[in-house]
Symmetry: C2
Subunit: 423 residues, 2 copies
């Protein structure tokens, strides 16, 4: 991709250094300056549509030569409409409330000290991703709005598209009152650059990897910087003994079929044995009619003889397709144990009319998002009312579940006194 | 210390496995069960006073043979009174509100979904420390109250004391309704055990290192598990041009002298040049009278000719003693730049009557605790009204500043519906 010889450690260190400097200036900016700059980037992206499409064509041609699947090619391809949507996202981020500087939980101590917390940016965020080119502008917008400089490292397949988008953003930002270098893309697809970046804990405050499991594991192995992981979604729906079965059917179909290629789609359906006789034939019928390939455990199989026998591996697979594991379990305890063992701690739903079952499920299922009587598909920053998201954390530290603007900030204690000393 | 041959990887894995199992049971316990168990541990520690003192004597004798300083020996030594204080801490933790299960920020979405967050334990916490033996019982109590199983790894100098305290805790816990193995101490002082522990990211959710810089850096280098660092405190007081100088003098003396061997004591005093003529002689006089050794920058030196010339290294040193750097700076900008460059992002105070200066300081100083017109010595979980603390995080991820019970929990999204599916 990059034909020139590059001193990668030096290049990455320079980028990190410049990001650090930019971050010190970003923290002091008024919300309206950041918002105006975000709107300017939206306009600049639209104005540059033809140049972006030209660069995107280089990426898609290369991808075709390598013979990638139509689905992946579609994700990679930009169109004027998709560039419009990128601009719309930027305008939406501009319209969100600014999280920086908010003081909360302030309480007065007996000695008169006022102790509270203030939301502040992390500083520099490293975002390592393997997604569609629009993620470049989304991530850039969220990081800047939350007061952070960002270093982007996109997938090699979208290198040329990402590079021009990042360049347009940084130019428009710096022409509109933001510091230069608040958005930078690593200018090489060489993996050495990632290893170098992950060493720079004196410059970079947080690494967010978003992509396949091998990418995230590579980041975990090598990072000296705190990481918030975004693993895949192996999501479950559990239909309890006391479920409203009509509701359950709607939720199951929606969770599996409404959109399959996303992390919050259902991959495994668990049915309580007490309702299996009624509910399993219903599921077999609807999945048959929708063309869902079913992987069944032993007790579900009789209800759908054409189903494939499910293996351990099936229960650990994120299909992102019209495929689903179906299993009958003996109890809610078994359902919870299955979810905690085979799931990815992302999103899981119970369908039940039983109060105790609902409380047990949300307490004991060890997942970022525990849903009662609704589709798994709702686990999303927008649907949760957070405005938008940089991803869905499957980690427990700092941010768990959809990560919006607030989750891109940290806090500091602010203590206001009038001369207090400690006795 | 341990004379028997031990398969360390196997021993550590067993401990982690048992902690994991204990953590699943802990999450389901009622607050009153945990509180009764904490009170039982308090009683058990007092009942075992003579056995604890016996084991502590082994540690102190060894330490004397190795010729450690009187100050360190004092920290290591237990007495009946100190064991009483450990029991008192346990009773205080029992009396605190239980953070587990609290649902907060619940909002109703337009489609009727109720989206909120629930506080839940991390699971298993690894606590690696180099402190007094009482930290063993404090940390154990905080982790268990917050619903986490804990794996303790104390300093080798306190090995025998820590071992008996951890054993008494785990026994009393398991005899009072808690699962076995919710408190475990690694039964060897071999450092290999720490390396093994830091690999077990499938079992341990969080590592908290608390101790010297080299310990923490070793943990950072080797951990595959998220870490919340507790670095040292290089704390500053900045006396602004608009300070009330009598108040400033009291705050400076309190921050430096009230207790020196603690992380929230002041190590560097910065004085705005506009008040140096009035304030520096005052400081020289009071530090002289208190016996504080002063390291001065060039412009402070004339006010205290006997002061030692400060080097770069002085400004990066945590003295924990009656020693202080004193420097005159040209502006609040210079003061902030100095703090961000040389400080440890722990606690810094400004003394000022100027509104803009106070706001600028709390916004731009990149520290966990930013104080206005009060002593640095207040940065403490108890003083902040958090009840008690496991330490003071100098990290930005998840917990920053004093870490209490709440900071030992994570959250999950809880979404309550009545049949919603996504359109």
């Amino acid at each position: 991709m990059e034909e020139t010889v590059m001193n990668i450690p030096e290049v990455v260190l320079d980028i990190a250094n410049r990001a650090r400097t930019a971050s010190y200036n970003l923290v002091q900016l008024k919300p309206q300056i950041k918002n105006q700059a975000l709107l300017a980037v939206a306009d600049a992206l639209i104005a540059a549509t033809s140049s972006i499409l030209e660069k995107n064509k280089i990426d898609t041609e290369k991808a075709k030569q390598r013979g990638i699947s139509d689905a992946l090619l579609d994700r990679l391809t930009l169109t004027p409409k998709r560039i419009d949507l990128m601009a719309t996202s930027l305008r939406e981020v501009a319209a969100l409330p600014d999280p920086v500087g908010e003081v909360y939980d302030m309480k007065t101590r007996p000695n008169g000290l006022k102790v509270g917390r203030m939301r502040v940016p992390f500083g520099v965020i490293g975002f390592i991703y393997e997604s569609r080119p629009n993620v470049t502008s989304d991530a850039g917008a969220l990081c800047i709005k939350s007061g952070n400089a960002v270093i982007l490292r996109g997938g090699s397949e979208a290198f040329n598209s990402n590079r021009i988008i990042a360049q347009i953003m940084d130019d428009a930002f710096s022409q509109n009152g933001l510091p230069k270098n608040c958005v930078q893309l690593i200018p090489t697809t060489n993996r050495e650059a990632v290893y170098e970046l992950l060493k720079l804990d004196k410059y970079v405050n947080l690494i967010i990897p978003r992509g396949g499991r091998s990418l995230i594991e590579m980041v975990m192995e090598n990072s000296r910087i705190p990481v918030i992981k975004h693993y895949d979604g192996i999501c479950h729906v559990f239909v309890d003994a006391d479920a409203d079965l009509d509701m359950a059917a709607e939720i199951v179909v929606n969770s599996k079929c409404q959109r399959t290629g996303v992390c919050n789609a259902m991959e495994t359906l668990l049915i309580h044995k007490d309702v299996a006789g009624q509910f399993a034939p219903k599921v077999a019928e609807v999945f048959r009619s929708k063309g869902v390939t079913v992987y069944a455990n032993k007790t579900f199989k009789p209800y759908m003889p054409e189903a494939i026998d499910a293996t351990e591996k099936n229960f650990r697979t994120e299909y992102l397709a019209m495929k689903c594991n179906c299993a009958i379990v003996d109890s809610i305890e078994d359902a919870i144990a299955h979810i905690n063992k085979y799931g990815s701690h992302h999103t899981d739903s119970i369908v039940t009319t039983n109060y105790n079952a609902s409380m047990k499920f949300v307490t004991e299922v060890d997942s970022a998002c525990c849903h009662v009587n609704c589709s798994t598909r709702f686990s999303d920053g927008g649907e949760y009312g957070m405005g938008c998201e940089i991803g869905i954390s499957t980690d427990k530290l700092h941010a768990r579940g959809p990560m919006g603007l607030t989750e891109l900030t940290t806090s500091k204690f602010v203590v206001l006194g009038n001369g207090q000393v400690r006795g």
